[in-house]
């Protein structure tokens, strides 16, 4: 399938991103190939099957798209393949049951683009993902790939390229949000050689898969972005640091590098211009802290992955002490589009404190779990309630945690916040690399803080005292509170440790690590006090502080809670109010989550 696809041919695009693969999409892909090859008539020759990168709506995978008819199918199973071929490939009909059906109205959509999940999105970094076979460089070229590199090499001077990136307003998508053009300029103007260009693909935030999807689904856009930068700053060597758990990303990136070299987009004498640029892949060992730029460079050098102070920028002394530009995967994927379409275009998208778009991985208690790319300035409400489709089971929204494990938890009162670098920081959180975890009223905020602090205490590099020992003691205090051993003075101790860590930690991990604690105290103080003073977990999560009760007036006696109870602790006759046997109850919360009549609630501590 290396030949270019003519416009008349039907394309069957089977999503083979990690989410869909987990749902069995490889088998679906193979089934399409098997069926098509089995068809004897000429129509079969007119169709081609492609495995693509992630389409974003992993919740409803495997996803199959038929082009050019623009039909999108969700939750496709092997058994559906013959019908899809018959109706949509050999004919122009649709299989209605496999279309996207709106959660509330039940309305179906022929093209995914018209659904709530995709309608509000604007794809720049994800522009090709789901539309191309990442293993086929021609697919990328057909969609304008490597035209930015040609433009950069033959029409623009390095200064002009840097000028375009600066004026575009692009800021780093990896966490700190440093202006990208300024970074390149500093590196270009730094003395010392050789210079290096690095791509940070060590995505480690729990629940985040933005960079993974780009590396898996559109590796050439990263290569092109890095090569444009190498030309602008005068680098001949680049590194892509990919965490080793990302097997498919490693495979697709490596294959793309080889193909790009064969096509003259990488290596010696790029496109006949005389430019040299090689890209090496380095596999990360799975330490979260190696996503911090200076720790990442130490890791490439073969040293212990610990950050160093950034008083001297990496653009002056980076990898092996040489001037280095390090950008995140998503940042790199934006570069070719900015070069092609101009800085004015990019700068016109987004908000005052953040131009362009941002990819978020929307996960947690939201109906449409997946990957979304929206213009900066989109509100949290739009992201969660419209694109995300609202909260699972129509429960009450409680908080959204943005920016990875060291981001903050943002409460309902800030749902209308327009998301950009500045606004998220103003409410105690951060953009980070784009993780967005939605929580409902069955989430205990003290438990959430404890979860993140535990993660960070294991993943901190452990080099500086504020971060390592601060996290150790914070975790100890939070564990005490969730066990019912909290003291009133704990709140002040947590805040004292948090403030010190923010000010005195060596790197950004330590400086931001207290965010989950500080924001949950700021926005959910009542919940902390309820744990500490009344020994009660209102969300019914902390087991020693939880008790469930069935409201007899609301219980219809449907018996579903009784069936779901793993401890056989629920008693009651069908159609009569049920009750919970406290001595048997293991506080797992299965009953409260499954009850359709909201008849089960947590009991107050005093009543236990």
């Amino acid at each position: 399938m290396s030949d270019l696809i003519s416009a008349e041919k039907k394309k069957i695009l089977v999503c083979c991103g990690t989410g869909c693969v987990a749902n069995g999409s490889i088998k679906v892909y193979e089934e399409f190939i098997r069926h098509l090859s089995g068809l004897s008539d000429a129509a079969a020759v007119e169709a081609v099957v492609k495995s693509t990168g992630c389409n974003g709506l992993c919740e409803r995978g495997p996803i199959v798209k038929i082009q050019p008819d623009d039909i999108s199918y969700f939750k496709v199973r092997i058994e559906d393949v013959p019908e899809i071929i018959e109706k949509s490939v050999l004919d122009t009909k649709v299989v209605d049951r496999l279309l996207y059906h709106d959660n509330t109205t039940g309305k179906s959509f022929r093209s995914h683009k018209d659904t709530d999940f995709y309608k509000g999105q604007y794809k720049i970094a994800l522009r090709n993902i789901g539309e191309i076979d990442p293993g086929n460089i021609d697919d990328y070229i057909v969609r304008g790939g490597y035209s930015a590199l040609k433009k950069a090499l033959f029409q623009l001077s390095p200064e002009e390229i840097i000028g375009i990136i600066k004026k575009s307003g692009l800021r780093g998508r990896g966490g700190a949000g440093f202006p990208t053009g300024m970074k390149w300029e500093e590196c270009k103007n730094s003395e010392g050689s050789p210079k290096y260009v690095i791509c940070n693909g060590d995505e480690g935030d729990p629940g985040a898969f933005m960079d993974r999807s780009i590396m898996e689904g559109d590796p050439n856009s990263i290569i092109e972005g890095m090569t444009v930068c190498a030309h602008a700053v005068g680098a001949e060597e680049g590194y892509i640091y990919i965490r080793d758990e990302y097997g498919l990303a490693l495979k697709n990136m490596s294959a793309a590098i080889r193909e790009a070299e064969k096509h003259g987009f990488l290596g010696e004498d790029i496109l006949g211009s005389g430019m040299i640029f090689r890209i090496n892949i380095v596999r990360g060992g799975g330490a979260f802290v190696c996503g911090e730029s200076t720790a990442l460079m130490a890791s490439i050098e073969g040293k212990v992955g610990e950050p160093r102070a950034k008083y001297i920028h990496s653009t002056k002394k980076g990898l092996w002490g040489k001037p280095t530009v390090l950008n995140n995967v998503e940042t790199w994927a934006n570069i070719p589009e900015i070069i092609n379409k101009g800085w004015e275009w990019f700068n016109s998208i987004g908000a005052e404190h953040g131009k362009g778009t941002k990819v978020f991985s929307l996960v947690g208690k939201v109906k449409n779990t997946g990957l979304v790319e929206v213009p900066l300035g989109t509100t949290l409400r739009e992201l969660i309630m419209n694109i995300g489709g609202g909260i699972i089971g129509d429960r009450k929204f409680k908080a959204v945690q943005t920016g990875g494990p060291s981001g903050g938890c943002i409460p309902e009162k800030h749902l209308d916040l327009e998301v950009d670098f500045h606004s998220l920081e103003s409410v105690g959180s951060m953009m980070g690399s784009g993780g967005m975890i939605v929580m409902d009223d069955r989430t205990c905020m003290v438990e959430v803080a404890k979860y993140y602090i535990k993660f960070l205490s294991e993943e901190s590099c452990g080099k500086c005292i504020p971060c390592r020992e601060g996290l150790r003691q914070m975790l100890n205090v939070l564990q005490g509170i969730t066990r019912g051993e909290g003291k009133e003075s704990d709140i002040n101790l947590l805040l004292e440790l948090g403030e010190m860590m923010k000010e005195a930690s060596l790197c950004a991990l330590g400086k931001t690590a207290p965010n989950p604690v500080i924001t949950t105290i700021r926005y959910f103080m009542d919940e902390y006090l309820e744990h500490i003073l009344n020994k009660n977990c209102p969300a019914g999560v902390c087991k020693p502080l939880t008790m469930f009760e069935i409201d007899e007036d609301l219980c219809r006696g449907c018996g579903i809670c009784k069936k779901s109870c793993p401890a056989d602790a629920i008693r009651g006759q069908l159609k009569a109010p049920h009750s919970i046997d406290v001595s048997r109850c293991i506080r797992c919360g299965s009953c409260i989550d499954i009850c359709s009549f909201k008849a089960i609630h947590t009991a107050r501590g005093a009543e236990k």
Binding site: A309, E458, C461, G462, K463, R468, E469, Q473, M500
Partner: protein
């Protein structure tokens, strides 16, 4: 160039660290992980100071912050002392029995009002030993693991194949947790035992053969390895006395 530290005008070379300039001017900034002989890593954060430039104040580690333009530094504001006290609270909670730490806390008035959940550690992970091993020894030890379980050790906690038994790590350790045990002409360190050479002049055991070999290889010349360092000094002095016939 000029910087002001605690209201005092100080001269600094471009790129010089704040701590070095302060020291030269008799301004005492407490440190736990810094050594004049080894590169700074800024891990203990006790030496933090307030740096005021372009009307902005921020907290920086003075041991590794290079001065590049005129600025003002405050080493002992309430904010800074507060940070140091909280750090000491954490450190003393990690290693409550450590004498070096308690003396240090008392000396700088940083004794905390309370201790937190106490650990029974002795090592404060200042990283002086690993740096000494890197600079002077054979890179036999490093920090191992990460997060709250981080520690200093040899690879896989096994006796290191490359350790030369120089003892630099033990010598530099401020809390004296790293011990070089010397008995019957042997030195035991990091689980490895070294035979010590005997000085041909005074008969004292003084250094492992591995260490001497390593140094000779590094320097590219034969050393006077047959004698201990104090005898070598005496012999040098005698040589000079003979030359100048004093």
């Amino acid at each position: 160039m000029r910087i002001i530290i605690d209201g005092r005008n100080c001269e600094a070379e471009p790129g010089e660290y704040i701590l070095a300039v302060a020291k030269r001017n008799g301004i005492d900034i407490p440190t736990l992980c810094s050594s004049d002989a080894l590169p700074g890593i800024g891990s203990c954060r006790i030496c933090v100071v307030e740096l005021i430039e372009r009307n902005k104040t921020r907290v920086v580690a003075s041991c590794i912050y290079p001065i590049t333009h005129e600025a003002e530094v405050i080493t002992n504001s309430q904010r800074i002392i507060g940070i140091r006290k909280t750090i000491m609270k954490l450190l003393l909670s990690r290693a409550p029995e450590n004498e070096h730490l308690s003396n240090f806390a008392k000396r700088y008035g940083l004794w905390p009002s309370e201790l937190l959940n106490a650990q029974e550690e002795e090592c404060i992970l200042c990283g002086l030993c690993t740096r000494a091993c890197e600079e002077l020894g054979a890179n036999a030890i490093s920090t191992v693991g990460r997060g709250t379980d981080k520690k200093v050790s040899t690879p896989y906690d096994e006796p290191s194949a490359v350790c030369i038994g120089c003892g630099s790590c033990a010598a530099v350790c401020p809390t004296k947790v790293i011990k070089a045990e010397e008995v019957n002409g042997t030195r035991k360190i990091w689980g490895k035992t070294f035979e010590l050479l005997r000085c041909k002049r005074c008969g004292k055991h003084y250094a492992p053969r591995e260490y001497i070999d390593f140094m000779e290889k590094k320097l590219g010349e034969k050393s006077e390895a047959d004698y201990c360092s104090s005898c070598r000094k005496v012999m040098q002095a005698e040589k000079f006395r003979d030359i100048y016939r004093i």
